[in-house]
């Protein structure tokens, strides 16, 4: 009996780790052990989602932490993104809704990091985004890509070129290129915990999939490199100063994203 009580007391003592107030945080190096891979954070959100502004703040903290190595895009989808009442603007897209449904998401805020499961789930709550990004940044780089955009401010036509290279060691063969038009700084009403912010700034919002919801297949039959050229016209309602294109390469079967890049429309040309 004494042994049992002793074992129990020891378990209770071992089961308590009180962190002193001056040790709540510890240093973090975002570059430790990382590869050249860049990471796409798809942040599913909605104007009527009260917890989404906090998720957007988390995305912003991650952007500051990881700099150019993180590309974050807000995708308005789900019930909280549907227009009603004062929320007249519809920021949903056909592609965004398809992704939301395809990955089986139910509510927002929700995010995915490179569409790669973290702790066996593709859909991640905002608190897990940092850990999932950290894990992705330390995986082997399998694809490299570059994108150039030329924008004609008179005709609103932009031409882009993507160069993609399969790196040594990758076994993935069926790859696709996805191109998204993203608009930043859209002002809309937004539900926040204290009520409604009438002039909330929606950041880096996905406005459409330029080459189809699931992108286009890349042809590596001749070499480990390939290039894709496209020309698009920017709708007149879009402000080119706030627009960019996000390009990413993913594996067609698993939908995992292997590399991502982004470029602003150079509207001064």
């Amino acid at each position: 009996m004494k042994k049992i009580i002793f074992t129990l007391l020891m378990s209770i003592l071992v089961g308590c780790e009180v962190i002193p107030s001056d040790e709540y945080t510890q240093p973090y190096d975002p570059n430790e052990g990382s590869s050249e891979r860049r990471v796409l954070l798809e942040e599913y959100t909605g104007m009527k989602c009260v917890n989404c502004p906090a998720a957007a703040d988390q995305a912003r903290l991650l952007e500051r932490t990881y700099g150019d190595r993180l590309v974050s895009v807000s995708i308005h989808a789900g019930g909280f993104a549907s227009p009603s009442g004062i929320f007249t603007q519809d920021l949903r897209t056909e592609a965004g809704t398809s992704y939301f449904e395809n990955f089986g998401f139910v509510g927002t805020p929700m995010g995915s990091v490179n569409r790669t499961p973290y702790r066996s789930s593709i859909g991640l709550s905002p608190s897990l985004w940092g850990a999932a990004i950290d894990a992705q940044l330390t995986t082997i780089d399998e694809v490299e890509m570059e994108m150039d955009i030329a924008f004609d401010n008179q005709t609103k036509i932009y031409t882009l070129r993507c160069d993609v290279e399969r790196l040594e060691g990758t076994t993935r063969t069926e790859l696709s290129l996805n191109l998204w038009l993203v608009e930043d700084s859209i002002i809309t009403p937004q539900i926040i915990p204290s009520g409604i912010d009438q002039h909330y700034i929606q950041r880096h919002v996905m406005r459409g999939a330029l080459n189809g919801t699931w992108g286009e297949a890349l042809d590596f039959s001749d070499s480990e490199q390939c290039s894709v050229d496209h020309t698009y016209s920017l709708p007149s309602t879009f402000d080119p100063a706030h627009c960019s294109v996000v390009a990413f390469v993913g594996e067609r079967s698993s939908l995992r994203i292997l590399q991502v890049t982004t470029a602003h429309l150079n509207y001064l040309k």
Partner: protein, 571 residues
Amino acid sequence: MQRIKRYTTSILTCLLAIISIEASAQQVSVSDSSKTRKVGKFFANSTFSGQFQTQIQYCWPDSVGDRSEYVNRFLSNSYLDLRYTSTMVDLGVRLEAYENPLPGFERDYKGFGIPYFYLTVNLGAVQITAGDFYEQFGSGLILRTYYERTLGLDNALRGGRVVARPARGLTLKVLAGQQRYYWDHSSTWVGGADAAIDFDKIFPKLNGHYLQWGASWVSKWENPTIILASPTEQLNLPRATAAFSTRLRYQNKHFTVQGEYAYKINDPSFDNNYIYKPGQALILSASYSTKGFGVTLSAKHSDNMSFRSDRDQGGRMLQINYLPAFTYQHSYSLATMYPYATQPEGEVAFQADIYYKIPKRTALGGKYGTDIRANFSRINSLDKNYENGANSPLTGTYGYRSPLFAMGDELYYQDINFDISHRFSRGFKMSLLYTNQIYNQAQIEGHATNGNLVHANIVALEATMRLSNSVSLRAEGQYLFTKQDLGDWLSALIELSLSPGLIFTLNNIYNVGETRKNYLFGSIAYSSGSHRVELSAGQQRAGITCVGGICRYVPQTNGVGISYIVNFSTR
């Protein structure tokens, strides 16, 4: 591959049904043979029992909030529970099959397998369980693992448990395990112990007075993740988090008084914005009851008491503890339209419930008496004094301070109910419910339309008539008045019961306010012995289903369904 999986799941579902029916049919012969068979003490008093349940649904296009994963395909949830018990052995297993999970169940459930099995050996004063098990310490403030099929919630622990009764009136429990997460298990280990003393069993002189004291401890051992406090700092997360509780309950013929206090050390989590403040909860309850009259008063303060196997998890999964909702359990559909979900970050709640039966053979009581129930509950936010101001980031800080039962200004939920029920004759009974609810939609659902607070008034009238010895009719009319959310709702239901065992139900819910949409739903249910089958068709509105303050969102559906359930036992 997908097709093979689908067919395999279908075959398994059929097999489960066949096994169940077969076992049910054989119950008499097994029972007979077991009587004649001489068995040892280990297997004495053997009983084999089980239950099979399946629910299959087929949805039309564009009926489930445009979610294509549900339409034009069969969705089904099937369960087979098998249990063998004897004097010394209790062995159980549950098979689950989700062809495509029903609307509202997470896609993570898709598949089939055996997520639950256990073996319990009863050695008299000591009971040892290995495998999956459910357990609750006290009212569950620091540990409650349970299974709620309607919510798709199963947080069973897989590991071991020992329950010992070393002396009269003394019960000790020790356990350890990992919680179920869909088809997987959390990597976090949960361990705990509980001691309960029944003083009335130790001191027989307390005859008629029941006094119980209990104390519990639960810890979790969890690997830390990367949670950023700033671009150059991450949180120093505890690997071991403990919670303690103590409880006292006194009861005599008329009075019951009970209280439970729980404390949890620093547990930064998604639910609390990763603050280091300890959590605490206090539940107090007193009740008095006598023939025809009862009153219960209860109060709850819970502060930062969300306790999960995975600190980064939101929603309903991997909860180690249970925080009860102090609200009235409604049964009418419109009264459950705005159900309260316990707020994990904390709340202060009060509830009063009074029941009175107007005696028979009085002016108001009539021949059979009249039942009257009044209920009031109010739940507010905590009054929080933030260390660094309310608007500064919380992550990586102590957070705030909040004294016990200090109510904040924000109302989460208020519910005032008057329920009167009167039997006019042997074959005719009527009930009237009036409910006034204030529901903080922004806080509870994370969105709101036409204001954060929904003010709803609901009236429900129900009549039950026995038309003959084998025919009875139940009719229900409800109206919900509100200027918020989707506006007013109207509901009408008629239910015809033909004994033995046949029930026809037709229900229509109509949105009078914004959408002006009808949700017409009908069903035919037939029960015979331990079998029950139900066919249904029609539209069901999107809504939130709650059981005890734990909720699940169910999308709108339009289609047909069949459900079947059978219980079987060799005894």
